[in-house]
């Protein structure tokens, strides 16, 4: 049997944050995650897609892709844009760092708290790719 996968290609717009969140949560429900785990996955997906919407295409338009698959003993979520990239990745991951007014700068903190692994690749002018893993307690 082939591995189940999900691939979403979305306009990088605020209205699609909920679309990504619900789609990944629905996929995760099929992997037997608990409801509290699914709530944590929803927050992590919301944070990473919100970052793309807020920062990837300043003043312009672009797309964000969201992939989910079963792997690493649980769920693998990969979110990628082809936007401006993050000039200083380490600083962007610091709790409380934000360039957006009225935001708390806790997006990466929430992603790291709610997921088991997080890796981030970003190149100025080429885009950003975030890979997150959530493992089941009893896979």
């Amino acid at each position: 049997m082939s591995e189940n996968r999900m691939y979403l290609r979305l306009s990088c717009l605020p209205a699609n944050i909920g679309v990504a969140r619900i789609a990944v949560a629905t996929f995760a429900a099929g992997l037997d995650f608990t409801l509290p785990d699914i709530e944590e996955i929803k927050v992590a997906v919301s944070e990473v897609v919100s970052n793309a919407v807020l920062h990837a295409y300043p003043g312009g338009f672009g797309e964000v892709t969201v992939q989910a698959s079963a792997g690493d003993g649980g769920l693998v979520v990969e979110v990628e844009d082809q936007g401006v990239g993050i000039p200083d990745v380490e600083r962007a991951r610091e709790p409380g760092f934000t360039t957006a007014p009225d935001h708390m700068g806790l997006g990466f903190s929430f992603m790291e708290s709610f997921m088991d692994d997080l890796s981030l690749e970003s190149s100025p002018g080429k885009g950003t790719r975030v890979r997150m893993v959530k493992r089941r307690c009893n896979p």
Partner: protein, 125 residues
């Protein structure tokens, strides 16, 4: 996200339902600020009983309303906070900044200065 507004004793009550994220944060801020101006209420009670989801953007919007209300000398109180939203408030450090009440009635007392938030989120005499 849906908001309905009601008047309480010396406060505006905003009952929220749905999801508070980047797609709804601007409407949340705009509508509450407009209603505060229109009513002239000094204090704000946010009833979160039917809030199904909040992320860091939503929490930032709530923090922004706290700054708005307190800069005018008023108080903001959160009421009927669901456990999963409470966890988010605690993780973000907002639970120690904004009083949390079990019920709207408790929140009215805290907003009017008659009671302080108790250790378990209720109003204490």
């Amino acid at each position: 996200m849906n908001l309905t507004f009601h008047r309480g004793p010396s406060c505006l009550v905003a009952r929220m339902s749905g999801e508070l994220d980047l797609s709804s944060a601007t409407a949340f801020k705009t509508r509450i600020d407009q209603e505060l101006r229109a009513t002239g209420a000094p204090n704000l009670v946010l009833n979160l009983r039917n809030l199904d989801f909040v992320d860091s953007t939503g929490l930032g919007a709530i923090l922004g309303r706290m700054r708005q209300v307190t800069s005018s000398g008023g108080r903001i109180v959160l009421a009927s906070v669901p456990p999963k939203v409470m966890s988010m408030l605690e993780m973000a450090g907002l639970a120690s900044l904004i009083p949390v009440a079990r019920t709207e009635e408790d929140a009215f007392r805290i907003a009017s200065g008659e009671g302080a938030a108790g250790p378990e989120g209720g109003a204490a005499a």
